[in-house]
């Protein structure tokens, strides 16, 4: 909290300085989202009563970005999410909640065209992974079961030197607990043909050190029709366990995690296929996971150990996604405005899964209506078999501004 207040004060001071510059302007963009969710509770979940659950909820979300720019270059950004939520059926009671989340709030300064400085709450670029960045020790982790969730940044000072052959990013991250404060650096280069390579390092007193390698390759970029094929790898080793242990089995040292993935757009039909696999050395085996759930039911393992680790309890996961941006792209009055999405996250550790299917429509200009269904399933001692909501249907109506 203290670090956020400090960041806000600094950003306001820098924005004030920048406002004195010529041709500066504020621009607001984002979307207003009216949302209704209907969920079926998983009666065998160990999280009943521990995590809030509502069968029917409705609310409004405003995702906004207020950018402060001079000509076409940003000088600062305020990225926020304002949410108003109504639980319509919660044991007969109506609960209303309001929240404002500051996702990013930063100011940019640059010295010439080489050195760039960003100060404030910001997301620091780290991993190549789409659904999850297992090597990222800095940013709040992505939740692979909530791909549309807005991601918060961290309070940091970042310096970047950007050149064509080599870019270097160095940063210091400020957390409320001084011991968690850390420093890191990332060196990236596109010098190997069709490849982007990055080496990163991070150190903090409490989290110790992390060394990471990220690589993205477009192996067939020279071949028309196949040039959308891209492969990536993200991996790291680190010194101290990131999660509280619920298993007596010692983890392999040094700890490591990696993700590998690929995507391609099918020619003509424009379907985007994405595949990712990740492995966590800290992840539990199927036996340990079953034992942990039995421990939760017996009251010997705190439920918080299991709840705060979405899609990171097991050791191996596979994610498959198929997206059809629009059914047709030839001016058809109906099918040009309908898109489809299907994805499935499978825990290879315990064979449970979290599947998503959705339809997106864009019949009205600058708006979108989405219908999404999620389904979590598996056995009683599996990760997704213990999801609190077994089936959820979400209807979103978004207006972009």
């Amino acid at each position: 909290m203290k670090s956020s207040v400090l960041a806000t004060a600094l950003v306001i001071a820098l924005a004030g300085h920048a406002a004195a510059q010529d041709q500066a302007a504020f621009k607001l963009s984002g979307d207003v989202d009216a949302q209704a969710i209907s969920s079926a509770q998983n009666m065998s979940s160990v999280f009943q009563g521990f995590t809030p659950f509502s069968e029917v909820a409705a609310g409004g979300i405003i995702d906004g970005k207020l950018a402060f720019s001079r000509r076409y270059t940003t000088l600062g950004l305020f990225d926020f999410t304002f949410q108003e939520n109504n639980v319509l059926d919660h044991n007969g009671a109506k609960i209303e909640s309001l929240s404002l989340l500051v996702n990013e709030l930063y100011a940019d300064l640059n010295y010439g065209d080489l050195l760039y400085l960003r100060l404030g709450k910001q997301r620091l670029k780290w991993g190549a992974g789409f659904i999850y960045n297992p090597s990222d020790p800095v940013n709040p982790p992505k939740d692979p079961t909530a791909l549309r969730a807005v991601r918060e940044g961290v309070t940091a000072l970042k310096l970047e030197v950007i050149t064509k052959p080599l870019s270097v990013m160095t940063f210091g991250v400020l957390y409320d607990v001084l011991g968690q404060t850390g420093v890191g650096s990332r060196v990236s280069t596109p010098l190997i043909p069709n490849t982007d390579l990055a080496l990163s390092g991070y150190w903090s007193q409490n989290e110790s050190w992390t060394l990471a390698l990220n690589a993205s390759v477009a192996p067939l970029y020279e071949m028309p029709g196949w040039d959308t094929l891209q492969l990536w790898f993200e991996g790291c080793i680190y010194d101290k366990a990131r999660y509280l242990l619920v298993s007596s089995a010692p983890a392999v040292y040094p700890y490591y995690s990696f993700l590998t993935g690929g995507t391609a757009t099918l020619p003509e039909i424009r379907t985007v296929v994405l595949l990712e696999y990740y492995h966590l050395s800290e992840g539990l085996s199927a036996g340990d996971l079953a034992g942990a759930y039995q421990g939760v039911r017996a009251g010997t393992v705190p439920r918080s150990y299991m709840a705060g680790r979405p899609a990171r309890l097991g050791s191996d996961y596979l994610f498959i996604s198929v997206t059809q941006p629009t059914l047709t792209d030839d001016g058809n009055l109906v099918f040009d405005k309908i898109g489809l999405l299907a994805s499935c996250l499978v825990s290879l550790t315990d064979a449970s899964f979290f599947a998503t299917g959705g339809v997106t429509t864009t019949f009205v200009k600058d708006s979108e209506v989405d219908l999404t269904v999620t389904w979590a399933n598996g056995g009683p001692e599996t990760e997704f078999g213990n999801a609190l909501s077994s089936v959820a249907v979400t209807l979103d109506a978004k207006v972009f501004f």
Binding site: T73, K125, E160, G331
Partner: protein
């Protein structure tokens, strides 16, 4: 006798070439001048594209671009859902930035990331000699305008069209028509310049109409305006890191 026959054949073969020798000298230098009339090497401008389909549906998007020779970055300013979407061309490598997440991924020259008849290459191709080998074909007439006609063959297979034909108006050096061919040498689409305003010997505003040769009712109207020469453009604008940092913002200048 055989030698005489060979000389006669060689002379006969050379006749059409002699007839098509370019009247203004060096073809490559001339094409550079044509490009300079269209868009200065270091420049910025705005672009508005409207796709019209035979169904009666249409789709519009606006953006601005910054050019440094064969490197171009294009940022969408409309529609609202696509604000912040960006397309980067760094020589023969193309990148796109997703509007919502700032994530940058490689994309293809042939893809039409914004939809319609205009490919990524159409939005970012401004240096003809770097992309194509140019050959003069002769004189021609387009809508009553006296033109030179050229054949452009792609130097790199990644480029969208293996063969292009270009008509340049003699008096203004404006490329008034371009036809794009498939590998089979069948016309895929063409554009004609429907409006051009000149200022200081170069185009200040231009409007082109792209037509799908296979479905002529499907068209795209591309308008480039507010074209402004820049004294210098930072190299960093054309790197993935800079695009991903979100610094290049869809400010409507």
């Amino acid at each position: 006798m055989k030698r005489l026959a060979f000389v006669l054949i060689a002379v006969a073969a050379a006749l059409p070439l002699a007839a098509q020798s370019f009247p203004e000298g060096d073809v490559v230098a001339y094409i550079d001048k044509v490009d300079a009339v269209t868009l200065p090497v270091n420049s910025k401008g705005r672009m508005a594209v409207v796709d019209t389909f035979s169904s009666g549906d249409d789709r519009a998007s606006d953006g601005f671009f910054v050019r440094k020779d064969n490197r171009v970055v294009w940022v969408a300013t409309a529609p609202a859902s696509q604000k912040n979407f960006a397309l980067l061309r760094d020589q023969d490598v193309f990148w796109q930035r997703f509007a919502a997440t700032n994530k940058v991924v490689k994309t293809s020259a042939t893809a039409n990331s914004r939809g319609g008849e205009t490919s990524n290459l159409d939005l970012t191709r401004f240096n003809t000699n770097l992309d194509y080998a140019v050959k003069y074909l002769g004189e021609d007439d387009v809508d009553g305008k006296a033109c030179y006609r050229f054949e452009l063959r792609a130097k790199n297979r990644k480029l969208a069209y293996s063969l292009v034909q270009l008509w340049v108006e003699k008096s203004t050096r404006i490329p008034v028509k371009k036809a794009f061919f498939a590998v089979s040498e069948k016309v895929l689409k063409y554009y004609t310049v429907t409006k051009a305003e000149m200022k200081d010997g170069r185009i200040a505003e231009m409007e082109m109409q792209y037509v799908d040769a296979l479905k002529p009712q499907d068209t795209s109207r591309l308008r480039i305006f507010d074209i402004t020469p820049l004294s210098s453009v930072p190299e960093q604008f054309f790197t993935r890191e800079y695009l991903e940092s979100g610094r290049l913002y869809p400010y409507e200048f």
